[in-house]
Symmetry: C2
Subunit: 212 residues, 2 copies
C-alpha cells in the first residue's frame, strides 16, 4: 500500500511526538521503541525515519516540546504576578515544581537526559531556553530592587535559585530524596517555601518592598 492517499494522510511528526511523550510517561525511556511509537501512530517503524533522523532526534523533539510547555507555564505566572517580585519568585518556583512532578519522565528527558549527542546541546542557547531564563533573572532583579537577596550578580543568584528548585525536583523524581513517606507534591511546596523563608530573611532593613 506504499504511499497513502490524501484522505489517509497523517501528521506523523506531530503524532509521533505526542505518542512518544505518552509512552515515555507511561513506561519510561525503554518503552519508547520505534516499533511501539509507529504502532501507536499507525504506521511502520521505518516511516518515522522520513521525519526524524533517528530515535534520538525523536526524543530531542519531545525534549524541545517540553521546554516550550515549561515556558508557557512560566509566562502565565509572570502575567498574574505583575508587580509583586516576591510572589513571582514563589509562584514561579511552585509552577516549576508542579511541572516537574506532573511530568516526571518528560522532565527527566529535559534535564537529566541520557548522554546522547542529540541531547547534549544547552537549551539556554536556544530561543525558548533563553526567554525562560530571562524571566527568572528579571524576577531576581525586581526582588533585589525590593530589598531581597544579596547584591550579587542577578545571573548568579538566578542560577542558584534554579538549582535549588531543580535539585529538589530531580531528587524527588528519581527517588533520591531522603524524606520518605511524604506526598511529593507537598514536599515540593515545602521546599519552595523553605527557600522563600530563606529569601525573606535576607531582606535588608531600609527596604523598599511593601506587601501589595
Amino acid at each position: 500500500m506504499a504511499r497513502p492517499k490524501k484522505e489517509d494522510e497523517k501528521d506523523i511528526p506531530t503524532l509521533a511526538v505526542a505518542v512518544a511523550q505518552r509512552l515515555l510517561e507511561e513506561g519510561g525511556q525503554a518503552q519508547v521503541t520505534m516499533a511501539q511509537v509507529a504502532d501507536a501512530v499507525g504506521c511502520s517503524a521505518p516511516a518515522l525515519y522520513t521525519h526524524f533522523r533517528n530515535r534520538d532526534a525523536l526524543l530531542r523533539a519531545v525534549h524541545d516540546a517540553g521546554f516550550e510547555q515549561l515556558l508557557r507555564d512560566k509566562l502565565a505566572v509572570a502575567v498574574r504576578t505583575q508587580g509583586d517580585s516576591f510572589a513571582r519568585l514563589r509562584e514561579g518556583g511552585l509552577a516549576y515544581m508542579a511541572f516537574a512532578l506532573e511530568n516526571p519522565a518528560l522532565y527527566r528527558l529535559m534535564f537529566n537526559p541520557p548522554p546522547l549527542p542529540e541531547l547534549e546541546g544547552n537549551p539556554f542557547s536556544g530561543d525558548v531556553g533563553l526567554r525562560s531564563l530571562e524571566l527568572l533573572e528579571n524576577a531576581v532583579k525586581a526582588a533585589q530592587a525590593d530589598g531581597f537577596l544579596p547584591d550579587d550578580e542577578p545571573a548568579q543568584i538566578a542560577f542558584t535559585l534554579w538549582s535549588l528548585v531543580h535539585g529538589a525536583a530531580s531528587l524527588m523524581i528519581q527517588n533520591r530524596a531522603p524524606l520518605t513517606g511524604c506526598d511529593p507534591a507537598r514536599t515540593g511546596r515545602e521546599v519552595v517555601d523553605t527557600a522563600m523563608r530563606l529569601i525573606a530573611s535576607t531582606r535588608s532593613k531600609g527596604t523598599r518592598y511593601r506587601t501589595p
Copy 2:
C-alpha cells in the same frame, strides 16, 4: 579453554566494576557494553553473568561504589571541621560539588540514573546513604544551634540544602546551566558561596556563633 587455572584466576567482580566505571567516565553509558567490559577485564561477555545477574546489576554495583566513595569524602570533611558548623556546611558543599564535577558520569549514574528497575531503589534506605544523610542533618542542627538557618525541621532544611548543591551540579554536568563560558569548578564554588552568604544572612541577632 573453559575454566581458568588458579594462576590465571581473576577477580572479575572487582575488575568489572572498575572497568565499567572507567568506560562510563570515558564514553558515557552507551560505551559500557558487556562486550567492552569483558574485553577490558580479559574475559568473555557471558562470563560476567556469573557475577552479575545482568547489565543493570553491573551498573548498580558501580552506582553503589560511587555512594561509598562519596561517603568517604564527606566523612573526611566532618573530621577536619569538628566544632565549626558553618565551615562544615561550606566544605561539605564544596567536597560534594568537587566529587560531582570530577566524576560526572558516575555522579549521573548515582543521581540521574536511567529508569531501570535495578536503579530505582532509594539509596537512603541503605546504610551508606543513611550515614551520608545523617552527616548533613547533624551539620544543620549544629548550625541552627549556632544561630544560623530558620528554625524548621532539620531534615527539611537538609533536603533543601542538598537540593541546592545537587541541582547546581546536575545542571552543570548535563550542560543545562545558563552560565556559559565559565570554568565549571569555579561556578560550582561560587554557587556554594552564594548559598553560604544566604545562610550567613539568616543568623539571628543574639547569636551563639563565634568565628573560630
